[in-house]
Amino acid sequence: MEIEITRDGSVSLLKPSEEIHFDNYKEVEAILLKEIDEGAKEVVVDLSNVTTLYSMTLGMFNNIASKIAKKGGKFSITNINSDIRRVLKATRLDKLIQIK
């Protein structure tokens, strides 16, 4: 899994190159946690290359949002398709995970 990382001050934008699946979401989680540990105050995940969000990824995003919030930071996702929007609404995670 390749993840393109763009840093602008304390803002990190991460763009996975492929689908986040049950066998690679831990890799994504590790990279997001590293960004937070290294001082990112705002982490944005660009989901342009992701068509489907499974429950494991939703849970992982929840963890990341909670961890960065505890440090006073923000987590958000961007460039989501209508299916992902529907899933976030159905699980009510659109109230917890900011969508840009």
Binding site: H21, F22, D23, Y25, K26, T51, T52, Y54, S55, M56, L58, G59, M60, N62, N63, S66, D83, V87, A90, T91, R92, L93, K95, L96
Partner: protein
Amino acid sequence: MNTDRSFHILIVDDSRTVRAFFADIFGDTPGFRPDTAASGAEAIEILKQNHLTDKDPYDFLLTDINMPEMDGFAVIDAVKELDPELKTGMITGFNVDDYIKMALDKGVFNIICKMDDPEDIVRTVHNLITGDHIFGLGNYVEPGAEIIRIQVTDTAALKGAVNRIMDAAESKLNEDKLYGLKTGLVEMGTNAIYHAYGYEKGSQVTLKESEEVALEYAMDSEKLAVAILDVSGTLTKERVLTQLNKGINPTHEDLIAAGGRGIYLTRFLCDKVVVNLASRQRTEVILIMNFSDDYKESKPLLINQI
């Protein structure tokens, strides 16, 4: 459907039209002998006269949920006091999800939708009475439909199986339904590997010989049906209903939780989900996607445990 004997059923609904409808569909099906009651009180009276006296006992009571004075849950409670052995089921014209919390509190695991295909309703009631024809994908597709089985031996094979079924479905389902199917296959497939056999989520897993997981799929003239199978039998009906309730009526703790959304998401995105459980033997989750583009907001609750 086995028609060797006739099943005597009591249908309870406050609507005369609905009573007549169900009396017709069951009356027209060989193997059923329906009676009707307009209220819970009338049903109790009929049971006292016919059932408890063994004059003309019933095999099944099917009650509407939303009725004045005595709702379906109260009817089931009263019936269970009279005869704990009498099999019962609930049916509603409203959104089944509105009753999930109550179903969890009362231990109700099957709620049928009035809007379902009448043949499906009759089949479901038959299966609830007999306990037969529950396990096996062949029970959910038209006779003669070819069932293709894909054995899953590791996590990579699960991806392959999902892709193969998606390829088969591509020309039959619209984009929303394809998304729902893919999500359901992955959620229930990963459940079958990680949860059933206790592997760490997200790890690469090669199953042991005793840890069987398989996906089966079949198509008939109206639908694609998939069965996701494991032989751990660790899933329970209480757990399935609890997870559904957490998705439908989440507390703050449920919302911030890292897991537990798979079955809820699957039911939300697939046309119909049936969960069949044989404790410590077998778990079978059936996903059904209709080829028609209609989307039904209300979906039945179908959890069977033998």
